[in-house]
């Protein structure tokens, strides 16, 4: 006895790509629920890439807003056969971030002290995951994270983006190469060089961390 075709159990689950395409189509038609779903699924990727590339909360928020506004106004240009929606969004985000960084030629490094507008505070870094009852652990981890952030932001843009895409956003080499528009070998060589620079930078920072821990 076969199950009726209307049974949801028999219908194949929509893939993530199809879900994105359907949600986008409904959002373009003005469906608020579809937009909320799309935003909840994909805004994090956009925002995190912009934040890691720029080090500025303000810039990352502006980029996220710009990218989704562009998606709402010209989302009909998205072609699922050419790639997934996250790749499409990441491509727009990358272009927007590089444009702003090239234009401004500066970035706001994260500050450890609290209260500065547009900067990611220490508490925001530690709040989601760190236990609050171990201040030494908090401080040491915070300093490590801050050191990595500064080291990443100190990289040249073409090295920084491969580190962010491949090591932080966990994209494959092929996906990163397609996004950047270069061969896979170029991504690999840039990543090698970028990691060597990061290591050099972090090794010079390491003695400061040890001194801080010793004081406490």
């Amino acid at each position: 006895m076969t199950k009726p075709p209307s049974d949801p159990a028999t219908q194949p689950a929509l893939s993530a790509e199809n879900e994105d395409a359907v949600a986008l189509q409904r959002a373009l038609a003005g469906d608020e629920e579809a937009f909320d779903l799309l935003y909840a699924r994909r805004a994090g990727v956009v925002y995190q890439f912009a934040l890691r590339m720029s080090g500025s909360v303000t810039l990352a928020e502006d980029v996220t807003q710009d990218v989704f506004i562009s998606l709402l106004r010209s989302g009909h240009k998205f072609d699922p056969s050419r790639g997934t929606l996250p790749q499409y969004l990441l491509g727009m985000t990358r272009n927007r971030v590089l444009t702003l960084l090239q234009r401004e030629r500066n970035f706001v490094p994260l500050a450890v002290d609290e209260g500065e507008e547009g900067r990611l505070s220490l508490e925001r870094i530690l709040a989601p995951t760190v236990a609050q009852d171990d201040p030494l652990f908090d401080l040491t981890r915070a300093e490590r994270v801050e050191a990595v952030r500064q080291a990443v932001l100190a990289l040249p843009l073409h090295y920084r983006e491969v580190v962010v895409l491949c090591n932080l956003d966990e994209l494959s080499y092929e996906a990163a190469a397609q996004l950047i528009g270069c061969p896979v070998g170029t991504v690999r060589s840039r990543l090698n060089r970028a990691r060597a620079l990061l290591l050099e930078k972090l090794q010079t920072h390491q003695p400061a961390v040890r001194r801080t821990a010793a004081v406490l």
Binding site: A29, F35, L202
Partner: protein, 260 residues
């Protein structure tokens, strides 16, 4: 595996994201023999751990006001969609429409732009070419007109004129005077004073009257010539000087010159 290949694949080995079959085993075998590469692999693994820690600490979402701003844009989209007859965006239909009737292809627009540019350049070239055959400026047109010059005149003596006409006194007639040296000086002075250029007697020149002018030779007092404006010395103004006057067809004296 050699050190160079190990170096090239180090980031992959440390991140363990994309490891082809057998790569890890070959890398471990190499690091067992090469302490330098083993140390590098260890350092890269530590770096990878710190990067993962950093990634975990920065998995954040944008602030709520970003969503609020985007909702305003969405509301605008809804207003457009609510208007009767407003186009509802259908991704599949839009794609099919693009494939079925692509409209004017891109190369068509480029060809039209190229043709327009060619026509504009041709017109500009043609205008420049035609302007070369015409006078380029008013100044050139002005300079092309030659300055009016007094025509070469035949020497004719007409007795019906009212001017004193006398035979020119030869210079040698004064030689018999006792002060020959002084006279020679005077003669030299007179010769220096004379010139062959006509001096205009009036600015109102009638070119038609001067088409067939008459030249009259006569003897006039030096003082009269000085009064007319000829550049002659004032002393000896009572002395008579030979002169030629240019008369037009209308009888008007237009110019005069002193002759030897």
């Amino acid at each position: 595996m050699k050190c160079q290949e190990f170096q090239e694949r180090l980031s992959e080995l440390a991140s363990e994201v994309e490891l082809e079959a057998g790569l890890r085993a070959r890398a471990e075998a190499h690091t067992a023999r090469c302490e330098t590469c083993a140390a590098r692999w260890l350092a890269q693994r530590a770096l990878q751990a710190r990067l993962q820690e950093f990634a975990a600490a920065t998995r954040e979402l944008p602030a709520p006001h970003v969503r609020q701003r985007l909702r305003a844009v969405l509301a605008e989209q809804q207003q457009i969609a609510a208007v009767p007859g407003a186009p509802v965006v259908d991704l599949a239909a839009a794609r099919a429409a693009r494939q079925a009737s692509p409209g004017v292809p891109r190369w068509g627009w480029l060809a039209a732009a190229a043709m327009f540019t060619l026509v504009a350049l041709s017109l500009n070239f043609w205008q420049r070419l035609t302007s070369l055959s015409e006078p380029s400026s008013k100044e050139e047109m002005t300079l092309a007109v030659p300055a009016p010059a007094l025509p070469a005149l035949p020497v004719v003596i007409t007795p019906q004129l009212n001017y004193e006409v006398s035979k020119p006194r030869p210079v040698k007639a004064a030689v018999h005077e006792p002060n020959r040296r002084l006279r020679r000086l005077e003669l030299a002075q007179v010769q220096e004073e004379t010139n062959n250029e006509f001096v205009p007697l009036t600015l109102a020149v009638d070119e038609r009257a001067l088409e067939n002018p008459t030249l009259v030779r006569l003897e006039v007092p030096r003082a009269r010539l000085v009064a007319l404006g000829l550049p002659l010395p004032v002393h000896g103004d009572r002395e008579m000087v030979n002169a030629e006057v240019m008369l037009g067809d209308n009888g008007v004296a237009y110019a005069i010159r002193v002759v030897r």
